[in-house]
Amino acid sequence: MPILKVDRVTLSFGGVTVLSNVSFDVEEKSICSIIGPNGAGKTSIVNSINGFYRPENGRIIFSGNDIIRKPSHKIAALGIGRTFQQIELYTGLTSVENMLAGRHMLFNSGMISCALFYGKARRQEVEHRRAVEKIIDLLEIEPIRDEVVGNLSYGLRKRVELGRALAMEPSLLILDEPMAGMNAEEKEDMVRFILDIYDLKGTSILLIEHDMGVVMDISHKVVVLDFGVKIADGAPEEVSVNPAVIEAYLGRKKA
């Protein structure tokens, strides 16, 4: 039973087709990667899942709900968390506050309760702070928990962003190039965190990544896009020998 089913999705901007008839499934409790050359439509797929873009055709089914016409915040509430290619943190808040803001929809205290800081609001602040501390532990960012994220380095900000997505307690975690611009050591850390999350929480993960070593190592399934068309999907070892994939990446051999 797939947790996410992308079914013949077509998306175009003013006549330019970005995605045409793309279909793939993300199985429950699996790591699925989307790869493809620049401009293949990887981020467009993710943005369509999130409700940023409105595909004109096709369906996107998440845990039995068609989410293609839903507003973004409702899609998030169903259990899809994500990180962004360019880091999109709340720069004025601290790491802890960013993660608490990620848990926003898990709170249900109202305006009056918050204004009085009494009862539910007070209880939930503590309760969710405790949950956030567990994520801080997992991602090893204890020393920067009270730092304003605007002042943090790139690698740490990526980590806080992952923490914020995790704080939502999603059943599907979408990671858009979590390792872009990192050195080998930071990449190793990031892979370790992703595998930890997968092992400990059993979260399904949809990963967009350019580092083939990482993709082939950790994914259960790889989907290859080229110019908005899916050219292959399957287990990493199948995809890596697929002639269409080799052609998309390396070009055609001269006859």
């Binding site: 915040h73 709340y90 004025g92 926003h104 918050c114 204004a115 609001a121 007070r122 702070r129």
Partner: protein, 356 residues
């Protein structure tokens, strides 16, 4: 910044308003000073402090809207008018007690703010400012022209009775001072609570990155409207207090220029800080007080015939001049406002003698 040697052992301590004993003692001393001030201070000083406190309430609301949620409103003084008239009319016409009329005034202001906040769904920044500008014209117009028989129009205006709580009439400068300060402290506390809980975080999320906020499950439109609502509830309560303090209302008391001044106070105080709202209100009101004091002196110095020869013209011109000047100076030299300067000062005190 936390004091060295202060360790949190409970999560509630991380968000506590008064974290250390020193904080608590300072606050109690501050309260005592406020309590005993009327014994030594003259009416003029009390009146200035009351004015600062009333202004602080409306600036607090605007601080939540502008400093936290990142929206903008040029209708703040119009929402104050709604609160002022609501409270005045509810007491004189419907015989409401003051303690019931005040929240109703807040609610009336809030609803007005909600209506003028709707364009924030589509508009940002400058365009949103233009849309809320409409409130500054529509609301006074409604007050003057819809039922002038009830509101009194521009002339004679509306006479508002002094507040009465359980038979006690707040009709002196001293009693008004106590009442206004108490309400202001409560409003500061509520604002602080809003900003340290989920709602405040949602506001900052929208300010810093609205696209990410939406994807991470924050209903942007709902929270933008909530920011407008909270902002204008503060305006409504502030307006109601102002009406009961002045005891006479006229739509011309609530001008667009006042809304601009309130925005200026938010900037001078420091965007995104609750205490900044109080600092900003205090700074501009004290500046205004000095301008009022200086204007008659200048009148004697200036050559005959200049500025029409009237102190009031000099006051108006000098007021705009100093206000504009202080805004420019703050934006250049202290763009993060008085609150930031105050934090830096406190930090340097703590680090003494290791700070310069």
């Amino acid at each position: 910044m936390k004091l060295f040697g202060t360790f949190d052992v409970r999560y509630t301590q991380c968000t506590a308003i008064f974290r250390t004993l020193t904080h608590k003692i300072t606050f109690v001393v501050f309260l005592l000073v406020l309590c005993f001030l009327p014994l030594i201070a003259g009416e003029q000083l009390l009146s200035l402090l009351t004015h600062i406190a009333i202004t602080s309430i409306t600036v607090l609301g605007l601080m939540i809207l502008v400093g936290y949620a990142g929206q903008i409103s040029l209708g703040q003084s119009a929402f104050m008018a709604v609160g002022a008239y609501a409270s005045g009319l509810l007491i004189t016409l419907c015989g409401f007690p003051f303690l019931l009329a005040l929240p109703c005034a807040g609610l009336a202001g809030g609803l007005a703010g909600l209506i003028f906040g709707i364009p924030s769904l589509r508009l940002k920044g400058f365009y949103l400012a233009m849309a809320t500008l409409a409130a500054s014209f529509i609301i006074p117009w409604l007050i003057v022209w819809v039922r002038p028989d009830i509101t009194g129009g521009v002339y004679p205006g509306l006479t508002v009775p002094p507040p009465v709580i359980f038979g006690f009439t707040f009709n002196t400068e001293t009693s008004m001072f106590y009442l206004v300060i108490t309400i202001t402290l409560i409003m500061i506390y509520l604002a602080k609570n809003i900003t340290r809980t989920r709602i405040g975080r949602a506001f900052v999320a929208i300010r810093d990155n609205d696209l990410a906020a939406e994807v991470l499950g924050i209903n942007i439109f709902k929270y933008k409207l909530m920011a407008f609502f909270i902002c204008s509830v503060y305006a409504g309560i502030s307006g109601a207090l102002w009406g009961h303090w002045q005891r006479a209302l006229n739509p011309e008391h609530f001008t667009l220029m006042d809304s601009v001044w309130y925005l200026g106070m938010v900037v001078v105080g420091g965007l995104g800080s609750i205490m900044g709202a109080v600092f900003g209100a205090a700074f501009i009101r004290i500046l205004e007080y000095f301008v009022t004091a200086v204007a008659p002196i200048l009148e004697g110095w200036l050559p005959e015939g200049l500025a029409g020869g009237y102190a009031i013209y000099i006051f108006v011109g000098l007021g705009a001049l100093t206000f504009g000047m202080s805004m420019i100076l703050f934006l250049i030299f202290q763009p993060r406002g008085i609150n930031h300067a105050w934090r830096v000062f406190l930090a340097s005190l703590r680090l003494h003698p290791f700070s310069d």
